[in-house]
């Protein structure tokens, strides 16, 4: 029997997409909390080893229906291994994987018909035209001729490849090939999609378009499991799972991820002159204060909105004068760098502790 361990992350990381303020800010997510929405994808302590290499280590996460989960991590962090476990190409060494309630290594045909997959590499046929490639994939999923030709037309329209429908796939640009693969993954209208690095090597404008399409699919109630190494794309997801060296570093809504990285919300202040700020940390709702320049400091608070008046008053009492104040929103690069660094330092939960 393989060893069964419960991830330390598990209890705190099962967050529903509805909890995501950021998701609501970027695009409203219709997905309600897990308690009421069926879980479509789940990994429970899933580990995958290749000889002596552990590509995925004790990963536990759940994805509710109608959610975009972004699996983010650097190259070689185990993203594709997790996707391949979910598609059934790889069996976990230990732990449990479930998609649509089934073990992926034993998918029934009906279940497979509800799954879409866009692999990382271009796997289509360069000698077939764009339309022929999509039609072939549609046929693999059992679409009859009439429905197939309608869907081929629709998905090529969707990914803006209608004009290139008769061009051979091998002669399409890299971006067009990615879109063609996306069309193939969508052609049978899957309920859940596994999309492995869809935006790799694609220009920013097209990336926006692809994410817009993902959000549209999400709004239709589909579940998307998307891997990417562009951490900035976390913004587009309802949930973000951060992966490093095969381990899940954090799993949360994007805004929650920011809070965890920084220990809360951060107020950035510019003063006319330096003042003694030791007492600021004792203010109600403030967890940390740090100077980032001779006259600039950051105050970490549970709620920036609530804490800002108190902080301004305290600085005035200390004889300081605030020239400018604003909420500091770190980039996701910074957020993830902090979380990964903290994880590597031994704080495996990746939870912000506010002491930085």
């Amino acid at each position: 029997m393989p060893e069964r361990r419960t991830s330390r992350l598990a209890p705190v990381l099962h967050l529903a997409p509805a909890m995501s303020g950021a998701a609501a800010q970027t695009t409203p997510s219709p997905a309600p909390a897990h308690g009421r929405t069926p879980v479509v994808v789940s990994l429970d302590d899933a580990t995958k080893e290749f000889d002596d290499v552990r590509a995925a280590s004790h990963v536990t996460l759940q994805v509710a229906r109608g959610t975009i989960l972004g699996l983010i991590g650097p190259s070689g962090s185990g993203k594709t291994t997790i996707v391949r476990m979910l598609t059934g190409s790889l069996a976990p060494t230990s732990g449990q994987v479930r998609v649509l309630g089934e073990d992926p290594t034993r998918y029934r045909r009906r279940t497979r018909e509800r799954i879409g997959y866009m692999p990382q590499q271009f796997i289509l046929y360069p000698d077939l035209t764009a339309a022929e490639n999509v039609s072939f994939v549609a046929a693999l999923f059992g679409l009859y001729w009439r429905r197939r030709s309608r869907r081929v037309r629709e998905v090529l329209d969707l990914v803006q490849l209608s004009e290139a429908r008769d061009r051979r796939a091998g002669r399409l640009s890299g971006g067009m090939q990615r879109r063609l693969e996306l069309a193939c993954a969508l052609v049978h209208e899957p309920a859940v999609m596994f999309v492995d690095e869809p935006t790799a090597g694609i220009d920013p404008i097209l990336r926006q378009k692809i994410w817009a399409e993902f959000r549209r699919l999400r709004d239709e109630g589909r579940t998307l499991f998307v891997t990417t190494q562009y951490v900035g794309e976390a913004e587009y997801c309802d949930q973000v799972a951060l992966l490093a060296e095969g381990q899940l570093v954090a799993l949360a809504a994007p805004e929650e991820m920011r809070r965890r990285a920084l220990g809360g919300e951060v107020i950035e202040l510019e003063l006319s002159r330096p003042v003694e700020t030791a007492d600021l940390a004792n203010l109600d709702g403030v967890s940390a204060v740090r100077w980032t320049g001779p006259r600039t400091l950051q105050v970490v608070a549970e709620s920036a909105g609530d804490a800002t008046p108190r902080v301004l008053q305290a600085i005035a009492r200390l004889g300081g004068e605030v020239v400018r104040s604003r909420e500091h929103r770190p980039t996701f690069d910074e957020v993830f760098a902090r979380l990964v660094a903290r994880h590597r330092a031994g704080d495996g939960e990746g939870e912000a502790d506010g002491d930085d």
Partner: protein
Amino acid sequence: MTELPLLLVKTWVRTTSFIGKELTECVRRPGALFSLVLGPFLIMALFGLGYSGQRRPLETVLVLPPGSTLPRDASAYEQLGPVGGLRLVQVTEELEGARERLRRQEIDLIVIAPADLEKQFREGRQSEIGIEFNQIDPIVGNYVRFVAYRQVQELNAKIIELAAGEGQQYAIQALGSQELTRVPPQVIAQPTRAELRNLAQTTPAVVTYFAPAVLALVLQHMAVTLSALSMVRERLGGAMELFRVAPVTPMEILVGKYLGYGFLSVLIAALGAALLVFGLGVPLLGDPAWFAGVILLLSFASLGLGLLISILADSERQAVQLSMLVLLASVFFSGFVLPLEEFLPQVRWFAYALPVTHGIRLLQDLMLRGGTYADWQIWALAAVGIGLFLVSALSLRKSMAHA
């Protein structure tokens, strides 16, 4: 639509999707199409037009003993009658000179005439006709021995015939007896002769005889090379990853590929057969339906061999190498060049595992004999095809299973 018909329709849709894909991919690769379709046709046409099947007569130098009164002009010997398998290019007394030409392989044979034939004969001794050749090819060497033996037999018969004729003349003159002339000298010299009768419906020329074998070999090679790269490309290109996720079974993939490549193979075989029959005049004496059936079985078994290679090979290079090995084995062991009966029985089993071994025999029989008594080879060909199909299906299933 109820469950089972729906399932069948979807299975049909998935399976047939491979036919279109494989055919389209083949058509879109003009280079591959050229080598696969036109290549075999060119080979067959070159074979038909360029191979005579006639063995070249052995270039021979006759060395006469010193002082011989026999003619020095080679053409003088041609007047004596046809000399089977030999062409006299020189008559000389210079043995060493002739040997030097033999060493340089300018000639094939030296015939050294005995110095005192009549004297030896009268003294009741055999004369020795020296025959020298310079061959490392055992088949040609055997042929030289056969021709030399036959020539000596012919010569002996001529001498006996001559002696018998002289004896009869002497008897008539000396004894006045006509009794002794009743038996002609050639009957005395060669009391028996062979009267050959071929029961075969045709007596094909060499090219005609080999044409069905070439068709079988080309068909197998084409089907093997066509399909041998197929699954390797799917795997290396990453499509296998998609097949693992899609609701397509290994059996549907395999059957789809069989149908796609089978269509191409049968089409090419039909064109090849038409070229043989209408272009090179090779007869098709047997039932065309049986002929078509053998072509189908040969294609089926050959595609199985190719697909098995394709599933087992790690790379395109290895698939090509294995295909070439199959071709090499087919040339040696199928009976195409060397008769199957000359191999050890154990080795013959290996030969029977090759589809082309049965294809050659059956196509030759059906085309040139009008039917076959080796009908067990039809079953054997079907068994090889089914066996390869099952092994391919199992191998594909294994390779598509999760890691």
